[in-house]
Symmetry: C2
Subunit: 356 residues, 2 copies
């Protein structure tokens, strides 16, 4: 099939340049355009294909429709030595979160830990990108986001009161690839549902239900259904507490009052959190990295389940993908490449350069 991944690739440099051109053409200042492109590309490089360049057209649509502020005044509106609340002024979520992470790292450097919440933000792409920012400072990073669409019912119910609210945590290592966990609180993601639809597969029961609580196994019906929480009341409870930490604490409406991002011309008022912990405050950093290395190594060399080639820890595959894609480029499916060509035409910019 011409559709299979691997036929077409683009280099990291080409992806960065194309996305920068697109955001610049849509009206973002040059430096902001470059930063958003860089943060989106990190998702593509680590293999989080659902949160990188595939989102470009959607973001551009919101910017052009006036749903996102092109010249935001992203600023601290409340703070204490180890906390801050950042108002994103409806700017691109990537810019808001980058600033929030910088503030968290600076505060954690002095206080040992810092927690920075956002309001008036927007979708920021892959959570792991922000959770990993503290790593370069030998800090642990944690990211929470509250989704602007409620695709989940609280466990035992059938009303959409909760989002797929993800959490990402990144932990420094020495020799091993960093431990990076990035998960939504639902059992299945829309990305996997779309894959099942593309491949003509049915969904197992227990992943999606309709508004009467009946299982939905046709992936083409799933987008109108409710995603089930991971591990029943556990995922539902985690999604709820993330709503109360990442939205309600920051003054962002959540639960039944959630601002949806269904209309491209309306602000989404997204709430997020970034936390950074300075590991050296608990003991020598090298000793910590030796311990995290040892655990990571022991897991990936442990005995696999029959049928599994090897055991992997979270972050291991993303790091391997990063190395491979930096070398060989990022695979892109022809339908996406074609839609980006169309976008380039609309924006009157040079298209994404395909390497082979």
């Amino acid at each position: 099939m011409a559709d299979s991944a691997g036929d077409l690739r683009f280099s990291a440099a080409a992806g960065r340049a194309f996305m920068s051109r697109a955001f610049l053409a849509a009206g973002l200042p040059e430096e902001d355009a470059r930063q958003v492109a860089e943060l989106m590309l990190l998702a593509d490089l680590r293999g989080v294909d659902s949160h990188g360049i595939v989102r470009l057209a959607g973001y551009i649509k919101r910017i052009r429709a006036g749903g996102v502020n092109k010249r935001p005044n992203i600023r601290i509106v409340a703070e204490s030595p180890a906390t801050a609340l950042v108002d994103g002024d409806n700017g691109m979520g990537h810019l808001v979160m980058r600033k929030a992470a910088e503030i968290a790292i600076a505060k954690a450097d002095k206080a040992g830990i810092a927690w920075v919440g956002t309001r008036g933000s927007n979708h920021a792409g892959a959570g792991a990108v922000y959770a990993m920012m503290p790593l370069a400072h030998d800090m642990i990073g944690l990211y929470l986001a509250v989704a602007n669409n409620n695709h989940m019912a609280p466990w035992g119910g059938v009303e959409p009161l909760l989002g797929t609210n993800p959490i990402a945590i990144a932990i420094p290592t020495g020799e091993e690839a960093p431990v990076v966990l990035d998960i939504a609180t639902t059992t299945i993601s829309f990305g996997k549902i779309r894959n099942a639809a593309d491949n003509g597969e049915r969904l197992a029961e227990g992943l999606v239900m309709d508004y009467e609580g009946r299982p939905v196994t046709d992936p083409n019906q799933a987008e109108h259904g409710l995603l089930l929480p991971m591990s029943e009341y556990k995922g539902s409870g985690l999604s709820l507490v993330f709503s109360l930490l990442g939205a309600a604490l920051n003054g962002v409406a959540t639960g039944r009052d959630t601002t949806t991002n269904a209309d491209a011309d309306k602000p989404a008022d997204t709430g997020q959190v970034i936390m950074a912990i300075k590991a050296a405050n608990f003991g020598p950093i090298d000793a910590y990295k030796r311990r995290t290395d040892k655990v990571a190594h022991d897991i990936r060399t442990s005995k696999p389940m029959p049928g599994h080639a090897a055991v992997r820890y979270p972050g291991q595959q993303g790091h391997a993908t990063l190395l491979e894609r930096n070398r060989s480029g990022i695979p892109i499916r022809p339908p996406l490449q074609k839609s980006l060509e169309k976008l380039a035409g609309e924006l009157k910019i040079a298209p994404l350069e395909i390497s082979k």
Copy 2:
């Protein structure tokens, strides 16, 4: 059946007094005995029957075998404005965690957030008890613990490298019962496995496996098996990051090197974390509580799934149980009551007073 719960009850005062007597007789100082009893009773009052008085005999055994330090010097060994590392000096985990929570609350009051890790600690009972301590100060509480037995394999593997590592999060409310989530990272707990064994029921597949990855459905075989992580790689990943945050960061051995607590005469060197966030630093506390109240209320009054009487949010049932048990006493099963009578005989103390 004489065995059914509800036939026998003891009052909160009787439970407190009996457990205090037991710890005093085992050699704890009077004030420490009283505090551990109080913290254990809170679990019983909120209906966490697996983590309260049922654990008394096990704790006493460890104390008498010399596995726990009766006169610990619980102290801060490293700190920054918003973090601390507490060495529990192998004292009772309840005392170590209580002190850690007090430190976290005092630091969060000044810095906005605080994170306190422990090493040289022991099993501390129910995580919710500590996560809830910040609530009285209008703070959010979060507790993590790293288990001293590895009952879980990393997802895709069959070696026991991870614990059931729980997380508890408590969030302040105004009129509604506080939101309190307290979950382990496995799909099923040993408590539920024991219930299935008692009731002659088989376990569903996907909960427990043997060391070759085959399903274990006989609850009587399950204690020799591996508990499966909640939601596959997600629960496995969360357990791993909790190990690296709650043990490795505090200088506690984890993963393959975990110190088990199998021998009652050996220190367990448990690692835990308590975090507190001062909600008022993000906006007026009353407005936050109105938002958390609204979400809690909307969930518990939302439409239930067919077959469910009502939707409940985490913490709602525990609070109702607390009110009911404070009024009517705590139910106790005859076998437990008999074993506590035996314990009283061994310790030469007055037995637990049964109210009816």
